[in-house]
């Protein structure tokens, strides 16, 4: 098998881009990635997106985004896997280059929330669940996470602020990320005072939905005509798995089985153990999911993931830095684009370009992106290419 490397990365600040259309949001990230890759022209575009058909009434993004960015004639289509869409698109791009059928692939994750407001967004996000038997009864992804959180807190006897460490850390790391939605600190006191969204889950247990776009360019090292100004990052392993779509169909809702399998497959593919990474970009779209991601990776015993966030182990100088640029919680959660943001941020760490948030000696990173309560899980192992 050939090496597949990330030759370019691009991202736009996550936030409320009321005046920017979806295609332009995507184009900014796409063109930035292309410039970063020395102008490399893609033969294929894989789009990660979740909401466009519902919120923006726009399908066939592959063609729209390639056409708009002057990439007429190339192969292009969308990968949709709920909030794991961007990570799924990366896997599609990776497999395309690995197979040898595509020499240069671009992956873009894009999400446009601000074409709609409030209840419409919650309703649209609910369509990622079992519509007939979950959404129709009034459940939303937030409420599903809240039920997981209640089970977790009761089963493992957590104090009421037991999960506060995750949003506090995310907000701390976002302070130095110019692309983050929330660049302000959060205290445990602030967490304790926050309004309930869906008991026992409060405002700070949920990553805010926001607009965003991030892109990468994948290729084989021998396709690069000239040396780039930055190091290359290799996609060393990739894995994906599903669980039941509906939370009610799980034998054990606190075991994120799809995440376990995706991590194992990606690590086996890379020939490493999860413990061999220096950075872990996980899904903290809900604070309890961050704890369950850590447990799925074997970084904590079952029921003990939350404790890691209450010490220094997950901070930038800790044993296993997570959410190094603010995670979904503070960088913001542009749903179908989040999986690509994770990879872009891991690349910044592996290239030594993470600025004040640089993790020392970061050579290998794990990214794990979930769709729903790990109904879908997509994992990648990235490392500095030599």
């Amino acid at each position: 098998m050939c090496d597949v490397v990330i030759a370019g990365i691009g991202q736009v600040p996550v936030g409320e881009h009321w005046g920017v259309p979806l295609r332009t949001l995507a184009a900014r990230a796409m063109l930035a990635a292309q410039r970063d890759a020395g102008g490399l022209k893609p033969q294929a575009l894989y789009v990660g997106n979740l909401l466009s058909p519902v919120v923006s009434h726009q399908s066939n993004l592959g063609t729209l985004l390639a056409d708009n960015a002057g990439m007429s004639g190339i192969e292009a289509f969308t990968v949709e896997a709920a909030e794991a869409s961007g990570a799924g698109a990366l896997r599609a791009g990776y497999l395309a280059v690995l197979s040898g059928y595509v020499d240069v692939a671009m992956v873009v994750g894009v999400e446009k929330f601000t074409d709609a407001v409030g209840p419409v967004i919650e309703g649209a996000m609910s369509e990622t669940m079992d519509y007939d038997f979950e959404a129709t009864n009034g459940l939303t992804p937030t409420a599903a996470a809240a039920m997981v959180m209640r089970l977790y807190m009761q089963t493992y006897d957590l104090p009421s602020d037991g999960l506060a460490g995750f949003p506090v850390l995310a907000h701390e790391n976002a302070l130095n990320n110019p692309n983050a939605y929330f660049r302000r600190a959060l205290t445990r006191e602030g967490y304790a005072r926050a309004a309930m969204l869906s008991t026992p889950l409060n405002l700070y247990d949920k990553a805010p939905y926001a607009d965003g776009a991030a892109a990468v360019i994948l290729t084989r090292p021998d396709r690069l005509k000239k040396a780039l100004e930055h190091p290359l990052v290799q996609v060393r392993g990739s894995g994906a798995a599903i669980d039941t779509l509906a939370l009610h169909d799980r034998h054990d809702p606190l075991a994120f089985h799809a995440a376990v399998v995706a991590i194992q497959n990606a690590c086996r593919h890379a020939g490493i153990l999860p413990a061999d990474v220096q950075v872990f970009e996980l899904s903290d779209n809900f604070s309890v999911y961050a704890a369950l991601c850590l447990e799925a990776g074997g970084f904590a015993q079952r029921g003990a993931g939350w404790k890691l966030a209450n010490g220094d182990e997950l901070s930038l100088k800790g044993r296993l830095p997570v959410c190094t640029m603010g995670g979904m919680k503070a960088r913001g959660n542009p749903a179908g684009a989040s999986g690509v943001y994770q990879v872009v941020e891991a690349c910044l760490q592996l290239r030594g370009e993470a600025g004040a948030n640089q993790v020392r000696d970061a050579r290998r990173a794990l990214t794990l992106c979930l769709g729903g309560p790990a109904s879908t899980a997509v994992c990648h192992v990235l490392q500095t290419w030599q």
């Binding site: 209840p119 419409v120 919650e122 309703g123 996000m125 609910s126 079992d130 007939d132 038997f133 979950e134 959404a135 129709t136 009864n137 009034g138 459940l139 939303t140 937030t142 409420a143 809240a146 039920m147 997981v148 209640r150 089970l151 009761q154 309004a195 309930m196 969204l197 869906s198 008991t199 026992p200 889950l201 039941t244 509906a246 939370l247 009610h248 169909d249 809702p253």
Partner: protein, 135 residues
């Protein structure tokens, strides 16, 4: 909810009709085409009793479209006597605090508002606490 979907789901929504696997006898709700336990094809209808207990629950303050009028409302995972777990709203709670393990029973209630002036009121299953002594 669209008209064809509304009719298609009536048996499940009004009578909790799921399936019993002809191969391994496991009871399944909602219906599936393949039994999750043995992998055989599942297609034999089975009516659930509608009795169960609360497995987890949440009170929602941020409703999706169609549910804004009911906010706040409580949704639960209800473990049915026969085994499966269903997602449903809890109703008739009064002042009673909800707890994991609380016995509940199915009732038919209005689930959501008319959607986009299509004039459909969606009815379906909710669960209410079982009064002491009536279980």
């Amino acid at each position: 909810m669209e008209v064809p979907r509304y009719w298609r789901l009536q048996k499940q929504r009004y009578a909790l009709v799921g399936e019993i696997c002809p191969h391994c006898q496991v009871k399944i709700f909602p219906p599936r085409d393949v039994c999750p336990e043995c992998g055989g094809e599942a297609k034999q209808p089975f009516s659930f009793s509608g009795k169960g207990t609360v497995f987890s629950f949440t009170t929602m303050y941020d409703a999706p479209k169609g549910f804004e009028m009911n906010t706040p409302y409580t949704v639960a995972l209800v473990k049915l006597e026969e085994g499966p777990v269903v997602t449903a709203q809890l109703t008739d709670l009064g002042e009673q605090p909800v707890e994991i393990g609380m016995p509940v029973e199915m009732v038919t209630r209005r689930i959501r508002e008319d959607e986009e002036d299509k004039g459909i009121i969606v009815y379906g299953y909710k669960f209410r606490p079982v009064m002491a002594g009536t279980h």
